[in-house]
């Protein structure tokens, strides 16, 4: 069966997940993003690529940062952007997902950016829309967050230049993290030789080893000699679900402090998809320290989302 993200010419027409995408498509996205980065320094930060196109941000789940960066990206491509906070509208009145899509398609939508609490919702939409309409997954359930994965790859490539010699550690709640899943697939596809997952057993999914990931429950061991540390947000609700004793306990074992950071390579970079819980998964001195590239990730995220939108819209 054909990858549902690719058209009959093998071009990326939807971005639903990083899983199964060939390396050349990932590299093309990163290369294209690199050409969008300098736009931020210009007097006029717009290019006319998506002039006349309508981009609908469909956020069935709240997210300020992701929605805003998609909105900025679409506007810098000269698209018209419509933000729909669906959780507060039709869905709560009982309208089905596909009925919502049909209605917006009748308003000449060209591109849907979808965030949904249910894994697979963007796939469902992509299968349903007309061939000239494109879908970008902005995070679905525990499944995938491909643009976050790609902006993480952009950030790593920006600082480390080459993937082929790197050791990358992903730390925290891997079990519930769509970011971790997208990162692992992207890192593996781009040829990173060693990907590590670090966290308490209760927050590590089974099957990581089969994905080629080395698993550590001891953070000090896991961080030894790594080039890149990707910290994940610890969602507060995990504490209530009896998966963890307390935030203080978690910080003691899996919070990134200066002492633990010193175990990584001296030039290691610290990443975080945001929003950060200071004092839970990361110490403030690390979050604000010189090895942190967390705010640069946000800036690169705009260029990466511009690249993804312009590539799918041109397919």
């Amino acid at each position: 069966m054909r990858n549902p993200q690719l058209n009959s010419n093998g071009e990326l027409t939807h971005l639903l997940t990083v899983e199964g995408l060939p390396r050349d498509i990932l590299t093309h996205i990163l290369d294209t993003a690199e050409s969008f980065v300098p736009l931020a320094d210009r007097e006029i930060k717009k290019v006319p690529l998506l002039r006349g196109k309508s981009v609908f941000n469909l956020f069935f789940e709240n997210s300020t940062r992701t929605r805003t960066t998609f909105e900025i990206a679409a506007k810098r491509l000269s698209a018209d952007v419509y933000n729909l906070n669906i959780s507060a509208s039709s869905a709560s009145k009982g309208e089905s997902l596909l009925d919502t899509i049909n209605n917006l398609s009748a308003m000449q939508a060209d591109l849907f950016v979808v965030r949904h609490a249910s894994s697979g919702a963007p796939h469902l939409i992509a299968r349903h829309v007309a061939p000239h309409v494109h879908v970008i997954n902005a995070g679905d359930g525990r499944h995938a967050h491909p643009t976050q994965g790609l902006l993480d790859m952009y950030t790593i490539r920006h600082y480390k230049k080459d993937f082929s010699q790197l050791t990358v550690a992903i730390v925290g709640d891997i079990l519930h993290s769509r970011v971790a899943r997208s990162d692992i697939h992207a890192l593996t596809t781009l040829g990173v030789p060693e990907v590590r997952a670090i966290g308490p057993l209760t927050l590590l999914p089974s099957g990581l080893e089969q994905m080629g990931v080395r698993v550590f429950t001891n953070m000090a061991e896991g961080l030894k000699g790594v080039d890149v540390i990707i910290m994940l947000r610890l969602q507060n609700e995990r504490m209530r679900g009896a998966l963890l004793p307390s935030a203080q306990e978690y910080f003691k074992h899996y919070g990134l402090t200066q002492e633990k950071l010193a175990l990584a390579k001296p030039d290691a970079i610290v990443m975080h998809p945001g929003p950060m819980n200071r004092g839970v998964e990361i110490d403030s001195s690390v979050a604000d320290g010189k090895q942190a590239v967390i705010l640069n990730q946000v800036t690169f995220g705009i260029a990466v989302r511009m690249a993804v939108m312009s590539i799918v819209a041109g397919a």
């Binding site: 294209t32 050409s35 210009r42 007097e43 290019v47 006319p48 397919a315």
Partner: protein
């Protein structure tokens, strides 16, 4: 316009272009005049002009992929390079350099992109070869050669170290053209 010659001596054309650009720049205010090369051939020529003419400031580089008018038909160019205009464009005199002038669409796109950096005082255009076939009201201020080339034929500039070479190429049918 002369008929298609059997070959074009790119080095001889470059020398003519270099002298023309030297003369052109002498008429423009020093310190407020900059070269801008269009990726990729135009950038190579602009880089070499910068060295050969001993110009103080590095030339600007434009990749017009984000400004092409055929995006809706053929999508994004597979290999976009970043544009790099490191000087302030406002009130500057720009000499736009390209290898081949054809439909004029690239030049339109390049001018649109330049205006997103600022408002230049003037823009001149100097090319190695004007091959005819214009689809827009665009003209070069200087072309080192002016020839007639039928659609479906293309000119390709390559460089080996410092020196340039121009080859004729026959395009496969219906290949989108954008020179």
């Amino acid at each position: 316009m002369t008929p298609t010659p059997p070959s074009l001596d790119a080095e001889a054309l470059y020398v003519r272009l270099r002298e023309a650009v030297r003369d052109l720049m002498a008429t423009l205010p020093a310190g407020r005049t900059h070269l801008v090369g269009i990726h990729s051939g135009g950038s190579w020529i602009a880089e070499r002009l910068h060295r050969d003419l001993g110009l103080p400031e590095a030339p600007g580089k434009l990749d017009i992929s984000f400004y092409r008018d055929d995006f809706a038909r053929i999508g994004l160019h597979p290999q976009v390079k970043p544009s790099a205009i490191t000087f302030d464009v406002d009130d500057k005199h720009l000499v736009l350099i390209d290898d081949v002038l054809y439909t004029g669409r690239t030049i339109r796109a390049a001018m649109n992109e330049l205006f997103d950096y600022g408002r230049p005082a003037s823009i001149k255009l100097a090319v190695l070869v004007d091959r005819g076939g214009r689809e827009l009201p665009v003209a070069a201020d200087f072309a080192a050669a002016t020839i007639e080339l039928p659609p479906g034929r293309n000119l390709v500039l390559s460089r080996n170290g410092e020196s340039f070479k121009i080859d004729f190429e026959t395009l496969p049918p219906q290949e989108p053209q954008h020179a």
